[in-house]
């Protein structure tokens, strides 16, 4: 087992594996999206307090969950890359950052569009919103830092330090609604007690969370494929991989 794990930790073996997995995750993302959107718009009832606008929840909460989860996974891969000096781990961290930033932006955007009709404001500097905005800056900072260092291995190390320090922000986001008095509501779903929402609403939200999860995996795998090619371009296997295409392209 250990041997196989290390086998797939080489970019050369992971590249074709990612290529086989990508279509699978796209299909899963599409199926979960279809089921989640159907449940969210045609099964879940109208909210007795908020009316229909609450249906933003089916993308807001999954995007917010993914924004935090992707950060943890990204920092985890970055840390593994720093400690074990494995190239692919750092590439995975790099591949996750833009998708994580996108999820964070979607959480903020949909939250703003939800806040306006329900709270009467697009934005408020409360702990939950502010810490989520800091998460966006952490992603952007990670990407900018890596882009600003020419040597990829040094960029990996610097990025890993930033990503690991930023991990402290994730529990702050998650528990902000408990630790501070926020305008943002507390968690409707938690592992320790029954969810405080109608079961059809919960089903729709969980299906959409799965859809976002599958999407994020597909996107990260696609991006890591590009990063592998870009960074390993001098390796013999990349030349061999691209050779047939080059021959075909020239008359």
């Amino acid at each position: 087992m250990a041997i196989r794990i290390f086998q797939f930790s080489s970019p050369q073996t992971f590249y074709p594996l990612a290529g086989r997995l990508i279509p699978l995750f796209w299909v899963l993302a599409a199926l979960f999206s279809a089921a989640g959107l159907y449940t969210g718009f045609f099964v879940a009832p109208t909210d007795f307090q908020q009316g229909e606008v609450y249906r933003i929840i089916f993308i807001h909460v999954p995007a917010a969950w993914m924004s935090m989860f992707i950060y943890l996974v990204m920092a985890g891969w970055a840390a593994v890359g720093l400690v074990l000096n494995t190239r692919l781990s750092s590439m995975m961290a790099q591949a996750l950052a833009p998708t994580g930033a996108l999820m964070t932006f979607i959480a903020l955007w949909t939250g703003s569009l939800w806040g306006r009709p329900t709270w009467g404001t697009w934005w408020v500097w409360d702990a939950r919103l502010t810490s989520e905005l800091i998460l966006l800056f952490l992603y952007l900072g990670f990407m900018a830092l890596q882009a600003s260092i020419d040597d990829p291995r040094r960029a990996d190390k610097a990025g890993a330090i930033l990503a690991m320090v930023g991990v402290v922000n994730v529990p702050i986001i998650y528990f902000s609604v408990k630790w501070w008095n926020t305008l943002h509501q507390g968690a409707s779903v938690s592992l320790t007690r029954a969810p405080s929402m109608a079961s059809d609403m919960l089903t729709g939200m969980l299906l959409m969370a799965l859809a976002f999860w599958m999407y994020a995996i597909a996107a990260a795998l696609m991006r890591v494929q590009s990063i592998i090619l870009e960074r390993e371009r001098h390796a013999g296997w990349v030349k061999d991989l691209l050779e047939p295409a080059a021959v075909k392209g020239s008359p």
């Binding site: 229909e52 933003i56 955007w109 306006r116 996107a219 494929q225 590009s226 390993e232």
Partner: protein, 55 residues
């Protein structure tokens, strides 16, 4: 959930702009990311090392 008509579905109880503004921008951004990923991969296959190399 019975909507009755397409109009009532689109109006989302008068909050259509907020709901569809959320879903629309999300779909647009995810679609855009997917397109950029395909283009970057094509570019990398054509000329590895040149991110997003144009044809």
């Amino acid at each position: 959930m019975e909507w009755g008509s397409v109009e009532s579905f689109l109006s989302m109880g008068g909050r259509g702009a907020y709901v569809w503004g959320s879903y629309g921008v999300t779909a647009l951004l995810l679609g855009l990311e997917a397109v950029l990923l395909v283009r970057r991969h094509r570019g990398a296959r054509r000329e590895p090392g040149a991110p997003g190399a144009e044809p």
